[in-house]
Point group: C2
Chain length 480, copies 2
């Protein structure tokens, strides 16, 4: 199948689904207005036909495409599509959608329907979904698994949300280091198929302790009599289930891994992480930084119900507002100064604004540097601070002079120009200090540096901007 | 090798390198103060010993770890380490470092030294570096490649920066669809090794047109006499070199791919993309959104020289400042109103600030939605707009009332409270409109929605915030 054709076909199918959804909406409206029983029956028939057609179309889509379709549909349409999915599709789709959409779907679904969908999943998928599901439901569904899988689901629920365990799959085949290559190949042949996303197999000793790995290529190439211990790679990156998922992701990126083993405290092989799970993790954690910096508490479904969206945005708005009150009181303290020279009121937001902008540039760089693990405590932090201070001095001199000139020309006052320039210079220095120290400080406190940095920074640059400008004006312009 | 031990050892080695760098700096200082020739000689010897020790330590590190070390070192130390690298290490390190650090290293290195390092690289790596390198140097080094590799480097330089071609490697082994499995295995054995990151091999017909793929696992399991055409997977996602790299990344994420083929216009196999390149791309493009939203023109080396950093930040600061001037003139137009009621000066930044904050939350959600390809033109954009408007009305009523109460109590004026509440409500509606339309508009114009959205938004919410508040105050409070 050619990919352009596929891409085209996918697009066509999605458009077709959307057409059916529109018809569905129209029929619902008509049905609600129905008065004569006869036409009601007719409409009902049409309605059913339409849904049957929709169901047929949906079955032709890959679960990942369905997941993506659900993510980009408004809530009502999303639920129509979701309810038309057979359990065999609904299960995998639930695994594929983003967490926030998953939670909205779970909330809207009967436990019995949900259970039917979950029964279609293997232990790994169930474990992955467990944190979004009601405990009883997980217990109910995992009771149907065999003992090994059940205990796997049980165990994994104990690991923290951002641990390597959450990226792990138990679906693996391990080889015995005493086997020759031919024996390993025979075992694989008997098994009939390899776990998905297998580029290499892990080799364990008699105690199940991980001792190496063999790429499938090496196994294909090796002479049949070569012992695995001789052809295996012993220099492998391994992780523990309670390792930070971010550490695993960094290792995958840095050492170009496609898969890596997870071992327990005694070095025994218990699972495997593959690059596809890591890609999803990298995307999710990076896009969450964008949201955190903008003051959103958690990732938000684009089409979330209004109330959910609003409450997700409130905590940081409340903090923001509290800081804006403080800034307002700072200005309030200088009311007599402003009364004296009302031009100050027009100019003061410029000082605050340029402070906030330069500071946020610094915050973004530091947050990114922390995400890429490029900032070491000590030496490099000091160096960063020095550099940002010099950049802020340079910016302060340049933009301070420019803004001062503007103010001087508009209001025809050289002293006003000087006060403006000085206030900007000082506020940019403050912005650099805060921009470096706040994210580093949050990180050191074990908090997400993206969450809150920007708010604290804006608070300081607004407050200090007003204070520096009005204070200097009070000292040098008004008291004459 | 146990990973904790390895992690510990890596950490130790890095610390050791840093110790040697400190000693190096100290010796440099001492050398510059030197007066007696005898002690100068002694210092020089120490200096050389120190560098030799450093070089020895560096050789023990993986190129990816060295790259990471360079990224997290201040510029001076970075150059000391860089210069101690042998060409055999310097080449791979150059491939591993981030683009901005790579460019700083290339700038600081003699062409002849650079050429020595580049000669250690294969055609794929050279091609990857080509866009950061002077053309003459690429020509010089690629002249040493064989004809096939040389034309590969040539061709790939023609592809645009963010195309699939930039993620592609030519290092692949293709199988002939007429072969039985045993023949394929024999070919692989004769070749002696498979290209790195191979989870599956691509199958071509007699005209070299891609017809399917065989996972290594399937090849291991298949009976020797089974024809490849029978065991291969024909339903594969394939890409063209001029496809958007973001499209390739999305497909890898969505369909959990570890590798995918690149074909030319006639369907002939020309290369391969592997998940390790895609992981790096996802990380880079996501972290760049963080920087763009904060108003940085391009990714900036944390330890870039001051001048480079400053100029990278100027374009958006200049735009910001221009908009702040406009906002300032809006306030200026109401100077007589403020003169009349100076409390307005203290309260107006609150209106602007809450507008900016709610608007930026919307911008962040839309930018993320666009990055995840969740927003379809038409239906879902309308729905998003409606939802954001309702959220903004809700927020406006809540926070408007709250802030109004605050203003009413502080200044003891009910009319002032009402004006404040109304201005906030209206400004939040403006923020929602701008927050939705600006990123969508930039995207439709084929521009990066993250770049500039935030600046335009703040401009509107500041300007409108001041205008609405002071205008309403002028109408209802001052004219009495």
């Amino acid at each position: 199948m050619d990919d352009e054709a596929r891409g085209g076909r996918l697009q066509e199918r999605v458009v077709e689904v959307q057409r059916l959804l529109e018809k569905h909406r129209m029929l619902e409206v008509v049905a609600s207005r129905q008065d004569t029983p006869k036409s009601a029956l007719l409409e009902q028939m049409q309605h059913r036909q339409n849904l049957a057609e929709l169901q047929r179309r949906l079955r032709g889509l890959h679960p990942a495409d369905l997941a993506h379709l659900l993510e980009s549909l408004p809530i009502d349409d999303r639920l129509v599509v979701w309810r038309e999915l057979t359990p065999a599709l609904a299960g995998p789709v639930l695994v594929e959608v983003t967490r926030e959409v998953r939670e909205s779907l779970i909330e809207q679904t009967e436990p019995s329907t949900l259970a039917a969908a979950l029964r279609e999943l293997d232990a790994d998928d169930l474990r992955y979904l467990a944190e979004s599901l009601p405990d009883e439901l997980v217990d109910e569904v995992s009771a149907l698994l065999d003992a090994h899988d059940r205990s796997w689901v049980e165990q994994s629920r104990a690991f923290p949300p951002d641990s390597a365990a959450r990226l792990m799959t138990q679906d693996l085949l391990s080889l015995d280091d005493s086997w020759p290559a031919a024996e390993a190949t025979a075992v694989i042949k008997r098994r009939g198929q390899l776990p998905s996303h297998t580029d290499r197999l892990f080799v364990v000793d008699a105690r199940k302790v991980l001792v190496g790995s063999v790429s499938l290529g090496a196994l294909l190439i090796a002479p049949g009599e070569a012992p695995l211990a001789a052809i295996m790679d012993t220099d492998i990156r391994r992780f523990h289930p309670y390792d930070d998922a971010a550490v695993v992701a960094t290792a995958f990126e840095r050492y170009d891994l496609l898969s890596a083993p997870i071992v327990d405290d005694r070095g025994k092989l218990i699972g495997r992480v593959t690059a596809d799970a890591v890609m999803d993790f990298i995307r999710a954690s990076s896009t969450n930084d964008v949201l955190s910096l903008a003051g959103l508490r958690k990732a938000e479904d684009l089409f979330a119900p209004v109330w959910d969206s609003a409450t997700n945005r409130w905590p940081w708005l409340a903090v923001n507002l509290a800081t804006a009150f403080v800034a307002s009181r700072i200005i309030g303290a200088f009311e007599s100064t402003i009364q004296h020279l009302v031009a100050l009121a027009a100019l003061m937001p410029i000082v605050a604004s340029i402070g906030g902008n330069t500071g946020n540039q610094t915050v973004a760089l530091i947050v990114r540097g922390l995400a890429l693990d490029q900032i070491r405590p000590g030496a490099s932090a000091v160096h960063l601070l020095r550099k940002e201070l010099i950049v802020s001095l340079l910016n302060g001199l340049l933009w301070g002079t420019l803004v001062g000139l503007f103010a001087g020309i508009v209001y025809g006052s050289a002293p006003l120009a000087l006060v403006m320039s000085a206030a900007i210079l000082l506020n940019l220095v403050v912005a650099a200090l805060v921009g470096v120290f706040v994210p580093l400080g949050l990180e050191r406190l074990g908090r997400d540096p993206a969450q809150g940095s920007s708010v604290i920074l804006t608070f300081v640059t607004d407050g200090m901007g007003f204070f520096l400008f009005l204070g200097l004006a009070h000292l040098f312009l008004v008291r004459t």
